[in-house]
């Protein structure tokens, strides 16, 4: 428009950080704390926000989103809590094995796709396993605003109850923990039934749990906009495939352990993204030709768009066969 064009770079702005602490929380989950090398403060953020962590793993760059689990009002550190995923494509393993205190890394400004609805009279949080992470910052924010909240948190067993002790200690009356190895379950129907008007429910956990909560809330007549969910989608490994990038006039191979988006980036082509988890819509790409089968995994496109074969979200979705994209 008026100034020399400033092309926006893909993804959110980055912040250089230094790893200031690594705290194992249990067998699977480790907390990583970051500070700024220049001693400056971090920007404030909103409860439920995530950051995208850049990992330089030899010749490849991984960009993985993690919820911020620190207190949004503490601008001296940012923290994330990473669950080791032996089956994953290696991002969490890299964090667990290759990152040490004092390492310099880049993370993005916070992005929030799971924010609090501040109109709510009460916030009802339902967490499953590592799905506790976005609630850590939401709880800290609401405590400061004297907001009304309650947490129901289901974990596998006592040894894997990430943040259970801390939460119970600080908020004995608001935190309810369920151990699945002791056959304890969140009684959804009853729980939803007993809520006052103006309550919003937030769920983060495995897909099955999210679907159950949406189903139960709908069945109980809750307005759709009172149910919020975030699923921490990580790109899944899959069979290698070939993609033609028509605009860039390039043909690329997507490896077993990388996402389509990562393969596009590796070839030097700038592609837009924000969440890298199939939720924000930013990476949406037009399909020019498709010979094979889509493996859609995102939460952005609707069923109709998925079956139309005209669009793909390269941050999480894959293809079996050969694909031509408008990129």
């Amino acid at each position: 428009m008026n100034t020399p064009p400033q092309k926006s770079r893909p993804g959110a702005e980055q912040i250089p950080v230094v790893v200031s602490a690594i705290v194992p929380l249990n067998d699977l989950v480790t907390r990583f704390e970051f500070c700024r090398p220049d001693g400056q403060e971090f920007p404030p953020f909103s409860g439920g926000a995530h950051t995208v962590v850049e990992m330089r793993d030899h010749d490849r760059t991984r960009l993985n989103p993690y919820s911020l689990t620190s207190d949004p009002s503490d601008s001296s550190i940012y923290a994330i809590s990473v669950r080791r995923d032996e089956q994953g494509r290696g991002g969490s393993l890299f964090m667990h094995r290759s990152v040490s205190v004092g390492d310099a890394m880049n993370i993005t400004y916070p992005v929030n796709l799971f924010s609090l609805d501040l109109r709510a009279k009460k916030h009802l949080f339902l967490a499953g396993g590592i799905g506790i992470t976005p609630f850590m910052s939401m709880i800290a924010q609401l405590e400061r605003m004297t907001g009304n909240w309650e947490l129901h948190y289901s974990v596998r067993n006592e040894a894997l109850g990430t943040y259970v002790d801390q939460l119970r200690y600080k908020y004995p009356n608001k935190v309810h923990v369920y151990y699945s190895d002791q056959n304890q379950r969140i009684g959804l129907e009853q729980l939803l039934d007993g809520q006052s008007l103006g309550t919003h429910v937030y769920v983060c956990g495995p897909t099955g749990m999210i679907d159950q909560v949406h189903g139960a809330a709908a069945a109980a007549g809750w307005p759709e906009e009172h149910t919020h969910s975030e699923e921490f989608l990580a790109p899944q490994p899959g069979k290698p495939f070939e993609v033609r990038l028509c605009k860039s006039e390039l043909t690329i191979q997507v490896g077993e352990n990388e996402s389509l988006l990562e393969a596009i980036e590796r070839s030097g082509v700038d592609a837009p993204y924000l969440c890298r988890g199939g939720a924000c819509g930013q990476c949406e790409t037009d399909v020019i030709r498709a010979d094979g089968e889509f493996v859609h995994r995102d939460h952005w496109l609707d069923d109709e768009q998925h079956s139309s074969g005209q669009k793909i979200m390269p941050c999480v979705s894959r293809f079996l066969g050969t694909l031509e994209l408008d990129r």
Binding site: T3, A12, S46, V111
Partner: protein
């Protein structure tokens, strides 16, 4: 540079005026000789030194006069400033971003001293020195949004983001181009844009919404919009149409150069960190036609843009009736010579107006040497 604030009004005697410096830095919105509505969004991170794009919140010679005008509008009509109850946190966000930006960008005019939640804010031009507790409303004379926007030029809409949608849930709107906060409050993005012609067919709003929903923290964006106003009026609200609408009929061939103003909005978009809301500041710049044409390139281009503009847009922008008179005036400043690309006036390189070959030969001598 220190700013010399104008003693001026936006009502009654309309003593508003632009200095030579203000004319040169005017955000002329047309980068070519024609105009079509588009989203034309770009990153808002600085611009050439001295331009209105340089700082996050531009402060210029009209600051004090605009703040006085805002106080008068609010005294008459307090509903120009509204904030739904859940938007208080976003108000604090806005207060923070403005105080931090202004104290960093204009350290000789504004100071912010923070000791935990104890904040001291000094606004030298307005003579304000307040100490308050951040996030404690009882320590400020107004709510946080009202407090800070009584000290910041431009209108402010704060949009809550929920369910893949933006909601107009708070705002300070006293200089708007013909729309009403009281009417739009609580509306979603599509509802408040419903009156804009053509744009819907172009799918522009769907794309714009997607863009805005994804504006990340730390990466603000901006665009320009424009319209026309007779007399340098800031408050052209529907509530007061009975007062200003009538002024459109006061335009004559003799006064069009001084009365007719191009009105440009610099719209910026910032993600607010604590509330995840989006703030949409709309900063209004006014320039009289006679000052605009002092830049030969702008005179030529303004004439061509207005001549080619589709009738729907001239109607929507409210100047279809006066367009012939405006074109008559502007044609005297269009000699048919080519213009350089881009919005900048390029006074050193653009040829002066050639009165011999100008395409309008009415015999009147034209004062085209105003570009002192």
């Amino acid at each position: 540079m220190t700013i010399q604030f104008n003693e001026e009004t936006f009502r009654d005697d309309y003593s508003f005026h632009n200095s030579a410096r203000a004319i040169k830095r005017f955000p002329f919105p047309f980068h070519e000789d024609s105009y079509m509505y588009s989203v034309n969004m770009e990153q808002h991170r600085g611009g050439p030194e001295g331009s209105v794009y340089e700082n996050r919140f531009d402060v210029d010679e009209h600051y004090l006069a605009e703040m006085r005008d805002r106080a008068m509008v609010l005294a008459d009509d307090p509903l120009r400033c509204q904030s739904l109850p859940h938007m208080t946190l976003a108000g604090w966000d806005l207060l923070e971003v403005i105080m931090v930006s202004k104290s960093e960008d204009y350290p000789d005019l504004f100071e912010l001293h923070r000791d935990g939640d104890r904040w001291r804010w000094i606004n030298k031009p307005m003579g304000i020195d307040d100490t308050f507790t951040f996030l404690d409303e009882t320590t400020l004379p107004y709510g946080p949004m009202e407090y800070i926007t009584r000290q910041a030029q431009g209108d402010f809409c704060i949009l809550d983001q929920r369910d893949e949608m933006l909601w107009m849930d708070a705002g300070m709107i006293t200089t708007q181009a013909d729309w009403s906060l009281d009417f739009d409050i609580g509306m979603n993005f599509f509802e408040w844009h419903a009156p804009v012609p053509l744009a819907h067919e172009l799918g522009i709003f769907t794309r714009a919404l997607k863009f805005l929903l994804n504006i990340p923290q730390g990466a603000p964006a901006r665009r320009l919009n424009w319209t026309m106003t007779v007399n340098p009026l800031l408050d052209t609200s529907p509530e007061n149409y009975h007062k200003w609408g009538i002024q459109k009929t006061s335009l004559t061939p003799e006064n069009v150069g001084s009365k007719q103003h191009l009105r440009v909005e610099l719209q910026t978009f910032f993600r607010l960190p604590r509330s995840n809301a989006l703030v949409f500041p709309i900063r209004c710049y006014l320039i009289a036609f006679q000052d605009l044409v002092s830049m030969p390139k702008w005179g030529r281009r303004m004439h061509r843009v207005l001549r080619e503009l589709p009738d729907e847009l001239a109607t929507y922008k409210g100047f279809i009736d006066n367009r012939p008179m405006m074109l008559d005036y502007l044609s005297k400043f269009d000699d048919g010579q080519p213009t350089s690309p881009g919005v900048w006036p390029d006074p050193e390189t653009e040829p002066p107006l050639n009165t011999e070959i100008r395409n309008h030969t009415d015999g009147n001598s034209v004062d085209h040497n105003r570009s002192a």
